[in-house]
Symmetry: C2
């Protein structure tokens, strides 16, 4: 049964955890907005209306959305707030677009410590300022204890397309080189290490990072960028499979050229994981004409790991360090739940 309204009940001092009433649309929710959410977002505070008005210039816009359900909320190298901002900024970057505006949807579980909410929002504000994205509108819902897991965050980002031609699997050509901007697997292993209380030799921090800057360098250098894809859920392997299938072309990559940090490699061996399937949050693959491969690697601080082939459409082949070729399939089954 619902609680009845008690109009004369004075507001208690601010509770130190989220209550159901914080999602009611009434005075508690306004107090939460005024005292916690808007101050924490600082200059990135959205206006208090049903939506926000933005003034785009001429030309196409890119739109992307992601919900973030990562567990735990804080991990070495980041937290759900920073992830939620960078993640959607990065998805737009993969469209050749720079994020300008962002919405934030919070689903809070009753009992979430207010201090946790403040920390996460502080991270969001810092990440938004860093990447030049403006949080223009938001929404807060509260679900009962046991119907969430602390907090879930949705961000939807909008920004102008800066790439001069369409970027996507359809633009990939046989002969294209594939460049990645760094070593693989750190995000997944970092999250897993805190979640499962594992200790590895050497520390592993997430590779979480905003990706517009390296993409902008590729575009400003005039490179003919055919496709970009961040290597998040499902890792390198799933990304390459998606693109091979979308482009109806084959992909061949060389294991010896794909950088994996020694600690990550060791952790993967112990855990029975393949680093090519582990999620990254600051890594992407760029598909460019072969003659631009070296330039792309230099501009992104990365390496050339393989190429696109006309034969074996839809298949990703890995040339192992032993010189054998084996298919690098799409992830089958569950590897690491709730990594983003």
């Amino acid at each position: 049964m619902p609680a009845t309204i008690n109009l004369s009940c004075p507001l208690p001092t601010e509770p130190d955890t989220i209550q159901l009433a914080h999602g009611s649309g009434g005075r508690w929710m306004h107090q939460l907005l005024e005292r916690v959410i808007l101050p924490a977002l600082g200059r990135n505070s959205p206006a208090r209306h049903d939506g926000a008005i933005v003034e785009p210039g001429a030309g196409p816009l890119a739109v992307t959305t992601d919900s973030y359900v990562i567990r735990p909320l804080f991990f070495p190298g980041g937290d759900i707030g920073r992830l939620a901002v960078y993640g959607s900024v990065n998805d737009l970057a993969m469209c050749g677009a720079r994020a300008s505006w962002m919405s934030v949807g919070l689903i809070l579980e009753e009992g979430l410590p207010m201090e946790t909410l403040r920390r996460v929002l502080g991270s969001m504000a810092a990440a938004a300022a860093e990447t030049g994205v403006e949080i223009v509108t938001g929404d807060t819902k509260v679900v009962e204890r046991g119907k969430g897991d602390g907090m879930y965050v949705n961000t939807t980002a909008v920004g102008a397309v800066r790439a001069p031609r369409p970027i996507g699997p359809a633009a990939v050509r046989a002969g294209d080189a594939i460049v990645i901007n760094g070593d693989l697997g750190r995000h997944g292993i970092a999250v897993l290490s805190v979640r499962e209380g594992l200790e590895f030799e050497g520390e592993v921090a997430s590779d979480l990072a905003p990706l517009w800057a390296p993409v902008e360098r590729l575009l400003q250098a005039g490179l003919e960028v055919h496709c970009l894809r961040d290597l998040t859920r499902g890792g390198l392997s799933s990304a390459l499979n998606e693109i091979a299938q979308g482009a109806k072309l084959g992909i061949r990559v060389r294991e010896r050229d794909i950088p994996v940090n020694e600690t990550v490699r060791g952790a993967c061996e112990i855990l029975g994981l393949d680093p090519f399937y582990v999620a990254n949050e600051g890594r992407f693959a760029a598909f460019v004409p072969a003659e631009q491969a070296r330039a792309a690697a230099e501009l992104t601080g990365g390496v050339v790991i393989g190429e696109v082939t006309a034969e074996r459409a839809g298949i990703v082949l890995l040339e192992t360090t032993l010189g054998v070729q084996r298919p690098l399939d799409m992830l089958s089954g569950e590897q690491l739940p709730r990594i983003c």
Copy 2:
């Protein structure tokens, strides 16, 4: 501990509930997208890339976001899918903007029946087609059993502003008339009736409805619309309080002019609820110059319920049917959790 990858494992026939692997970014997730999500969204299927490209015309855009956590997922007069589409379409309408593009973020709980997902997505597709909004991009996450409640949906909508002047509390003027487009409280009572297994004399279905059409009529008739606000969480009372505070003006409304269906009134009495605090999903308040009040009521099928006053800034006064004036406060505490 995470499951290891089994590359040779054939995919089982489609499971009839959501599994954690459906959120992994791998083959199961692709299967879910290809076989369930994209077909269910029909012509509203988003493209398979990190984001979508849209081509707005010149002029400002409005952006809005909402997460929908309503319990139960299906209720008399609608379901979470229809609510998630109309809800964000309506928030844009309140900005004087017509929704053109929408993102959909799904957070699914492990064990959700696939059939439930299909039904909800089917509702979303129908509601999107009806309102002329295109679902351009999406995201699906899966959380463990007991970390969600079936499903949560975020929608973020973008669309061109059609209003010739800014709409919002800052545009409200003393003397403005307040018009609402119908009777209050049906959504909250309909949801509550199924949630708590209550039976009332007479059926109550939610008032859930898209609101762009009546707003467009106001704009096309050339009315000087100062503010629009949908009467969702916190009901009429919270909406009016927000506007009175935002406008730094007083509001006076007359109880006898505010329509409440007899069954809703009876249910509220039994439950100790005030219909002015109960959520609606197809009702809004429009603030227009007094001389346009009648026209606004006719165009929206509604009624004039009160006016804005220069005195008593920030206060909403209700003139009761007994002729006394009492403050209509913002909802304090929790009335009906998870009504949207």
